[in-house]
Amino acid sequence: MSPEVADIGVYCCHLPLGTLGGMLETVELRKSFGRPVLDGVSLAVRPGEVFGFVGANGAGKTTTMRIVMGVLTPDGGEVRWQGEPLDFAARRTFGYLPEERGLYQKMRVAEQITYFGRLHGLTPQAAARATGALVERLGLAERANETVQALSLGNQQRVQLAVALVHDPAVLVLDEPFSGLDPLAVDALGEVLRERARGGVPVIFSSHQLELVERLCDSVGIIANGRIVAGGTVDELRAGGRTLTEIFRQAAMGEAAK
């Protein structure tokens, strides 16, 4: 086993014990849709850490995230949050951006963001305040009173992000949040994610833009054929002088060669 091919869980050992409480872990997740899709996926995202989830199409990223968010039930293994099995009450505090975007097309932008804030338990005032701030931050201020269907896809994507962020989530699970965004929006979102992480929130997102992952993430997990094949902090992974792209290619090919 090459040094980077290891369970990511081991990389949390340098953390002070107190912060272990805010860690998101998956333990040996298994799922099969006729053929096995997840074959024992274990990963850990520490509080305040931005975790990049990388892998080829169909490798199991989305399935893992859907299991974390309770959309799918695993055949085996479990999701842990703060050391405990994740339940509905805890999951309510999470923010989720699904792979297939979904919004009420005929609802107005600001109303929609506020609605999701209320559903997550915010008071009307808090929801309105959070909506105002996000709309400003994500460059949607001028579109706030338009219906979602009137927006371009890129702007709809920003609304989707606002919906995931409005309740000030304790964990962020974002499935390809950068796809479809222009460079300015990519920067704005990257900044928002770093900021949330600085507040102690574990952030996990999937992406195919490896240089973006390298730039934004503290640690990375590479998944291939339903297994984590490489993982660690970005610095650790690059210690051999290789780029993430090279590691990714090697990991994917190594897996395919088996």
Partner: protein, 362 residues
């Protein structure tokens, strides 16, 4: 605010804002208002316009008399429709066949006038009704007809909105985000509650339109004495019937992922409602028949047939009670089953989900 109420409020706001809601309400109000006015427009007149040529007017209640110089001018007035009949000496002139009721009135008034002229006085018979008058009976059938129409339209269209909402959320995968913070029963319950409120707004609009039109046209005088009870009954039956069909529509809707498939998926529900509608129409003509009595006890058909029967005729209280209890039990059953199907099917996007698969899987 609780998640269920938040969902319900969103549904109400989303519907009430649409143009379809405003148009639908306007159409129903006009339809019911028109149907209430119709008997006034197409029914017989309450008073007659009569004429005389060379004779004196007879004593007929509510008649308006005109005197004509000769038969020629009277004939012209008849042909122009200015007057219903003209008495000319011993003749009654009319344009075509004389209205039988007017004929009887004229003959009896003429007889009385001649008897009086002969110096005799007769005491006319005084009719005292111990049952509803013919007019009231007629009005009551009309009322029942409107009840059938309104319940049919609302009970088919409101659950359809539930199904469309379910498919909108399923097809766009909003449901995946919603379920991370809302329980399936809260989402479904809020949707049924909110759209039910929209249905009630429609119903209230229709009832108000009917009552205003009935008062304006003078028809209100003929309405049965238990009108408030009938109206309250219609509202209660609507709530029960709507809840039944809304739960069914949500379950059937959750099986498909695209709006185009909704109509097809709802076929079992629409069939049930159309059958109920057919029986209700039959019950309208013969509210006391065995078929009407049996079906008005049978859920879910009772939701439409029973209110029609109570509107068309008096129904024994025990029958209403049995029908209500049975329907309530059926509503409870279908809500539990529907919620179960919905919860399991709504996350399975893609091809149409088979209902058997949903019930089998744990």
């Amino acid at each position: 605010m609780n998640a269920l109420l938040l969902v319900a409020r969103r549904e109400i706001v989303a519907q009430v804002r649409t143009r379809a809601f405003a148009i639908g309400l306007a159409v129903m109000v006009l339809l019911v208002g028109g149907a209430t006015f119709a008997p006034k427009l197409f029914g017989g007149p309450d008073s007659y316009a009569l004429g005389t040529v060379g004779t004196s007017a007879l004593q007929i209640q509510d008649a308006k008399w005109t005197t004509y110089r000769d038969e020629a001018s009277a004939t012209k007035a008849l042909k122009d429709g200015d007057v219903d009949a003209v008495i000319a000496g011993k003749k009654v002139l009319s344009n075509g066949e004389l209205d039988p009721k007017l004929d009887a009135l004229l003959q009896s008034a003429n007889a009385q006038a001649q008897i009086k002229a002969a110096g005799l006085t007769i005491t006319p018979l005084n009719v005292v009704s111990v049952g509803p008058g013919a007019d009231a009976e007629h009005t009551r059938r009309g009322l029942a007809f409107i009840v059938v129409l309104v319940l049919f339209m609302l009970i088919i269209s409101t659950p359809m909105m539930v199904a469309m909402g379910v498919v909108e959320e399923k097809g766009s995968r909003i449901v995946e985000i919603l379920f991370t913070t809302v329980r399936p029963w809260q989402l479904l319950g809020g949707k049924i509650l909110g759209l039910g409120a929209v249905g009630l707004i429609n119903l209230a609009g229709v009832i108000a339109a009917g009552l205003v039109a009935a008062t304006a046209s003078g028809l209100a005088a003929d309405l049965p004495p238990g009108l408030a009870g009938i109206v309250a009954g219609v509202v209660v039956w609507f709530i029960l019937g709507y809840t039944f069909f809304a739960a069914l529509a949500a379950a059937l809707g959750s099986l498909v992922s695209r709006q185009e498939e909704v109509g097809n998926a709802l076929a079992p529900m629409t069939t049930l409602i159309v059958v109920a509608y057919g029986v209700a129409f039959y019950a309208l003509g013969d509210p006391g028949s065995t078929v009407a009595r049996v079906v008005s006890l049978l859920p879910p058909f009772s939701a439409i047939v029973m209110p029609v029967r109570t509107a068309a005729a008096d129904v024994a209280l025990w029958e209403v009670a049995v029908s209500g209890v049975l329907l309530l039990a059926a509503v409870a059953g279908i809500v539990l089953l529907g919620a179960r199907i919905y919860e399991r099917a709504v996350l399975r996007t893609g091809a149409r989900v088979r209902i058997g698969d949903v019930l089998k899987s744990s």
